[in-house]
Symmetry: C2
Subunit: 247 residues, 2 copies
């Protein structure tokens, strides 16, 4: 390999929006989360049949999906609140193009599973856009006015238009729900935090196949003064949103 | 807010390099890590005085930095091996420009600390490029031929040229060391994994202020067949590298 001189590479400038007038706080870990004037976006991560329902990719990997199904009523309540208040709603799906040109070889081969991304499963080709198993579950189906974002990675910012959508809507604050907590939810929240968004994870609207990983994630993201962001229960989040943004 | 139609947004195409001829494996969790023909890059995350030494940003936040200092000999051994074998070496530093134009307001205000990014500390302005506390610790100082990457986020891919540097060097595999495991190391490894890199965390070359978070991170990243990547000890990594890439 040819030697290169040491280089100091400067990052791009970040968004540096002004603090907005704040009225309501949500009781949260590690300290109250101040709601801004522009309502936060609600991002629901990967509530797709592949991960949540029996016979999808998640259960094909041997995971117990019943844990994930238990959060659906809470996620639905959060979604209905967001709709009622006119909040920006973004649903993500982990999905690849039918020709899999957006699926790294490393991802397809990882884990040496019997059934891999793109293979035929009980709900169609696994993690492929347009297949039955790749759809958002019926009870949380996106409606007119909401975004449905197909993402090739665990993080929803990588190789998607998410950053642009959030900028278009002047979003500074994001509430997160969805699955799984320590994989796609955490990865996306970390990406959002680096980009300067004030992020809150609704802790009973997210779940993992491994409850101990969910718990560790909640602790990690809120440690050190909220190094990645906040966590709060829907009992705190929903009434605060209604008070702040309701008519 | 004006309603928008539902949009399906397609991600960009990912790198889809071919599998290379593989010779040596590193014994790793969750299964052996196959070394490629082109040597992996070594990325050392944020081994900067602010985080590792007494009197820096880490200790100003009340953390016990002695835990982090203990990994320095192992990190040094890994770095010397990489140098001996001509591997691409990238050092990162979490740093902001002196005018802080790359520091989101959310980041500066988070945690409501007495001492904030950009404030004067015992080793100069905290997390500001060029300050004494922001330098890589003496024993790991970058040498000619290595990259030193200033990053404004926890993840080293966000708002940096890291992706381009790795592409320029035809890198497909990355070994990670540095601090702290669950914050900047994990975030960067997740970004790299989404981008299709085969990542291995050298578990005794990384540390956290919170040993339980380090342990949880090692478990999370290697779970589900290596959903983020692999972990192995330097006792496995260093001899395998020397056998595979030594003269």
């Amino acid at each position: 390999m040819k030697p290169h001189p040491i280089r100091l590479i400067w990052p791009r400038s970040a968004n540096t929006w002004q603090d907005t007038k704040r009225i309501m706080n949500i009781e949260a870990m590690p300290y109250p989360y101040a709601l801004p004037e522009t309502p936060p976006a609600l991002i629901l991560i990967d509530m797709q049949r592949d991960f949540v329902e029996q016979g999808g990719f998640g259960s094909a990997l041997g995971n117990d999906v019943s844990l994930l199904l238990k959060i659906v009523p809470t996620v639905k309540q959060l979604l209905e609140t967001a709709r009622e208040l006119g909040m920006l709603v973004i649903h993500t799906r982990e999905a690849h193009k039918p020709d899999m040109s957006d699926c790294p070889v490393s991802k397809r081969n990882r884990g040496k599973c019997d059934i891999r991304i793109g293979d035929e499963g009980p709900m169609g080709r696994l993690l492929i856009d347009g297949e039955v198993g790749n759809q958002i579950i019926d009870s949380l189906k996106p409606v007119e006015g909401e975004y449905e974002l197909s993402k090739p990675g665990k993080g929803a910012f990588y190789a998607t238009a998410l950053d642009d959508i959030l900028a278009e809507h002047n979003i500074t604050h994001i509430l997160f729900g969805g699955v799984t907590t320590e994989v796609c939810v955490q990865t996306t929240m970390r990406e959002a935090n680096d980009r300067g968004f004030e992020c809150l994870l609704v802790e009973d609207a997210t779940e993992s196949y491994f409850p101990e990983f969910k718990q560790a994630t909640l602790e990690m993201i809120t440690a050190q003064g909220g190094i990645v962001g906040w966590a709060a229960s829907s009992d705190e989040v929903i009434p605060a949103l209604k008070t702040q943004y309701g008519k």
